[in-house]
């Protein structure tokens, strides 16, 4: 027995492809869309279409942008000599929120993860090496997630950049603000101890 009309079933199927949306939620969302004002529903459809048509990756840093080059890369006040390397555009947003970094970015769009079949060619490492090779870069900050895949990615990038005279740094590993020492795990504590800093540096 057919429960829904073809178009309604199609909408449910499409919605259930979204992350975290199961068939039940998809059905609820589909009913919600059906009850929406026509203009609202069209506006939603239009927004989805527009985002797919307009947004693409920045030619310089792979950030999401509507023009060829993103706002950060085209900003003259940014220090182009310092590149911060992150895995995904979300990571860039997290760093931008700190307002403490005035350099530019390079987004890898992934990380090396052999178990998921992702190798060095599957992420944007070559273009980073190209940028450094061209010259004019003083420091490359590797702001890659501190897990095993992130370590592998950082070590691989560092190996590729070693022949060029550029300073390569990594974000510090340690205790998050508001954490409790008692509950910190051994690796985090060891890293925090290694990366300790002097309180009254002269």
């Amino acid at each position: 027995m057919k429960l829904y009309s073809d178009s309604f079933e199609k909408l449910i199927n499409e919605l259930s492809r979204l992350p975290g949306i199961g068939p039940k939620t998809a059905q609820r969302l589909a009913f919600f869309i059906l009850k929406m004002q026509k203009e609202e529903a069209e506006s939603l459809a239009f927004a989805i279409q527009e985002v797919k048509n307009k947004i693409h990756y920045c030619k310089v840093c792979n950030n999401l942008t509507e023009s060829d080059i993103c706002n950060i890369c085209s900003d003259q006040n940014r220090n182009k000599e310092i590149i911060c390397v992150v895995e995904e555009p979300n990571d860039l947003i997290a760093i931008e929120k700190t307002r403490g970094f005035r350099g530019v970015y390079h987004i890898l769009l992934g990380r090396i993860s052999p178990m998921d079949g992702l190798g060095p060619e599957d992420i944007k490492i070559d273009s980073l090496v190209g940028k450094v090779k061209k010259g004019g870069i003083r420091e490359v900050i590797l702001a890659i997630n501190p897990n095993v895949e992130g370590e592998a990615t950082a070590l691989y990038i560092a190996k590729q950049l070693k022949p060029f005279s550029v300073k390569i740094t990594r974000l510090a590993h340690g205790l998050p603000m508001g954490a409790d020492l008692e509950y910190a795990d051994e690796v985090t504590l060891t890293r925090a101890m290694e990366g300790r800093s002097e309180m009254f540096s002269t």
């Binding site: 052999p114 178990m115 998921d116 895949e149 070590l155 910190a184 795990d185 051994e186």
Partner: protein, 249 residues
């Protein structure tokens, strides 16, 4: 019901918004998929204890038999974190854990595999030649799984072949004499020296595996043979292999 066991993290994948499914190789229950709630939040209580290759004591909750297990407690016993500071070692550990994940069955208890995995991660942490360690692991794992190749006599007619080894039969799973080679459809050329090295990689004491003298060419030959062998008998192609080779290069 609560289950308590020692376990090594061999794989992980994201699940829902903040959760992750971790694959452990456990001492008591074999390979297990376990749901870890809230692990992707920065204030999660597990910290780095559920990173790949970590050896933990874990407490699991199973609501009903057959339900997905949920991790409730975790205490790190060994993090092998020196592996993480060397690209070659990370790549080798990826391969070792990937083999353990791909070639074993879920919930199939095998304490020898657990011990092998633990020992080889330990050896890898201290290794100078990780490529020899992974080759030895691969051979030993195949033996534990019951897929160990015959390397002493002809796998078909059991005649002892001394120095006149020419072929390895994928079909029969071992070295094969010239006579029997005619009836085997999948022969790979192999010399006496390579077979000797393979025997050493299998039987060398754990603390002297790295002392086995093996040339780069011979190691490549052994690796190639076992990629074919694993595919022939277990229908598995190690997709991580090529990537790992690039990282090690």
């Amino acid at each position: 019901m609560y289950l308590r066991t020692d376990a090594i993290v061999i794989s992980k994948r994201n699940f829902r918004e903040n959760d992750r499914i971790i694959t452990f190789y456990t001492r008591t229950y074999g390979k297990l998929d376990v749901l870890v709630k809230g692990i992707r939040k920065i204030e999660n209580r597990f910290g780095s204890s559920l990173e790949l290759f970590t050896y933990n004591e874990i407490l699991l909750w199973e609501k009903r038999k057959g339900d997905l297990l949920i991790l409730t407690q975790c205490q790190t016993k060994e993090s092998f974190f020196k592996i993480r500071s060397d690209l070659k070692k990370i790549a080798s550990a990826f391969y070792i854990t990937d083999l353990a994940r791909e070639l074993t069955k879920d919930k199939d208890k095998n304490i020898d595999i657990f011990n092998l995995l633990f020992t080889f991660l330990y050896l890898l942490e201290k290794a100078n030649k990780p490529e020899i360690i992974i080759s030895s692991f691969q051979l030993r794992l195949l033996f534990i799984l019951g897929f160990g190749p015959e390397l002493d006599k002809c796998v078909n007619c059991k005649i002892v072949i001394s120095k006149n080894i020419k072929y390895f039969s994928l079909q029969f799973g071992g070295i094969i004499c010239n006579n029997c080679a005619r009836s085997s459809s999948s022969n790979i050329s192999l010399d006496h020296n390579t077979v000797m090295i393979m025997n050493k990689l299998i039987y060398a004491p754990l603390n002297s595996i790295e002392n086995v003298i093996v040339s780069f060419v011979a190691l490549k030959k052994i690796e190639h043979l076992f990629s074919l062998y694993i595919f022939y008998h277990m229908d598995k192609k190690m997709k991580s292999k090529k990537i790992i080779e690039k990282l090690i290069k």
